[in-house]
């Protein structure tokens, strides 16, 4: 009869470690991400959104973009973007580092949903390295989905397209 409690405790511990608690989980502070990507000398800039630019962003995100400008950080030819998108019901904050129209790094910074947090793991974020936008505003490579995290994967994919698109706009100005 004493064999069961340790088994139950082990199972509970397994469940506890496998399922993160609900609420806001900060995996990496945005300012740390920017410093890691661009160094301490990065300057803060904004890109003002014209009507056409807003429409393009809305097409990429699949929803109207609220706001007239987007803040970003710049150092030489590299830019960093902190963008947010709703996964299922809560916002996901992700950081994107782009150099010469090519994605250098994608990182999920803050996650607020109860499910789909697997998008923060390197096996997922590694897929974004080297991605570019083609002339139809699609990513140059397909992103493998994660079972049970489809909405979060879609949200991050949309944001990465938006970051590459915005980088292209500020680089060409």
């Amino acid at each position: 009869m004493y064999r069961f409690p340790p088994v139950i405790l082990f199972f509970l511990a397994l469940v506890h470690t496998a399922v993160p608690s609900m609420g806001e989980e900060v995996y990496l502070e945005p300012d740390v991400f920017i410093e890691e990507c661009l160094g301490a000398s990065a300057s803060q800039e904004v890109v003002w959104l014209t009507k056409d630019l807003k429409q393009e962003l809305a097409d990429i995100l699949g929803r109207p973009f609220k706001g007239l400008r987007v803040r970003y950080w710049k150092n030489g030819d590299s830019t960093a973007w902190i963008l947010e998108e709703i996964g299922k019901v809560e916002l996901i904050t992700a950081g994107f580092h782009v150099t010469d129209d090519s994605m250098q790094r994608m990182e999920v910074l803050i996650y607020r949903e109860s499910h789909g947090w697997e998008v923060r793991y390197p096996f997922f974020s590694r897929q974004f390295r080297g991605l570019q936008l083609d002339n139809k505003m699609r990513l140059s490579k397909n992103i493998d989905g994660i079972s049970g995290a489809t909405l979060s994967v879609d949200a991050i994919t949309r944001l990465s397209r938006a970051a590459l698109y915005l980088h292209g706009k500020v680089a060409s100005d």
Partner: protein, 257 residues
């Protein structure tokens, strides 16, 4: 057991009828409510009750929904308003952004700023959203006030000291000089804006079928209403019992003939 013995266990007929009468009179109103609401619920789809929304202030208060008096409103741009309801910010009744509380307002011709403890909400003179910059993207956090220095440049007061913003609110630098802080001015909210805000926050009220269901169960009036409906159900059982007992008491069968 003989029939006459069964009959002797029952109270006198007069007592049974008195209990039946008073129980019936006391529970009548609630029985009517139970019956009518039960009938309506049985046909709620056919009657379209789930498509009718109840927006009466009494029902809103019974469901603990927000009231106009719950909306905090401040003046901006002389005649416009910024309102705050349950963590949501509104400009002239239109949703602007999330915001737990409002700690300061800075007005200018090009960019006006509404400060919450953890974000700066930048808007145009017409109230169009320019940008929401939360403190994770700023060199300071826990904003407590907004002011101006002697040159008229905006100053943000935070847990990391005072910071001066440039004209476009892009760059911020630590500020050491004198500055003045002004609390946001409270304002009255026009009824049309209040209606827009309440509608955005909580829709147009609960469905009529939901109100009827909660009236049927008594939950509309909290634990007191539920208890009354429980007692009404018990009263139905007692009425059935006293009715049958009274009938047994006066029937020929009870006389053992």
């Amino acid at each position: 057991m003989e029939r006459w013995q069964v009959t002797r266990l029952l109270p006198r007929k007069r007592v049974i009828l008195a209990v039946h009468r008073w129980l019936g009179a006391s529970a009548a109103l609630f029985l009517v409510v139970l019956a009518v609401t039960g009938l309506l619920l049985n046909h709620s789809k056919a009657l379209g009750l789930d498509r009718i929304q109840v927006n009466a202030s009494l029902v809103r208060s019974l469901y603990g929904m927000a009231k106009t008096s719950d909306i905090l409103t401040y003046r901006i741009h002389d005649s416009d308003t910024v309102s705050l309801l349950q963590g949501r910010l509104y400009f002239n009744g239109q949703y602007l952004s999330l915001g737990e509380s409002l700690v300061g307002i800075h007005e200018s011709e090009s960019i006006s700023v509404i400060a919450t403890p953890d974000a700066l909400v930048l808007i145009t003179r017409e109230g169009e959203l320019i940008e929401i910059t939360d403190t994770s993207r700023l060199p300071f956090d826990s904003i407590s006030a907004v002011g101006v220095n002697s040159s008229g440049l905006p100053i943000i007061v935070s847990s990391k000291g005072a910071w001066q913003a440039d004209q476009d609110w892009i760059q911020f630098q630590a500020f050491e000089g004198d500055y003045g802080v002004r609390s946001p001015d409270s304002a009255s909210l026009p009824d049309t804006f209040a209606g827009l805000i309440l509608s955005d926050y909580q829709g147009s009220g609960p469905a009529l079928s939901k109100v009827i269901l909660d009236l049927h169960s008594g939950r509309l009036f909290g634990w007191g209403g539920r208890t009354v409906m429980d007692l009404t159900a018990v009263a139905i059982l007692l009425l059935v019992t006293s009715g049958l007992s009274g009938w047994v008491r006066k029937s020929r069968w009870s006389l053992g003939k």
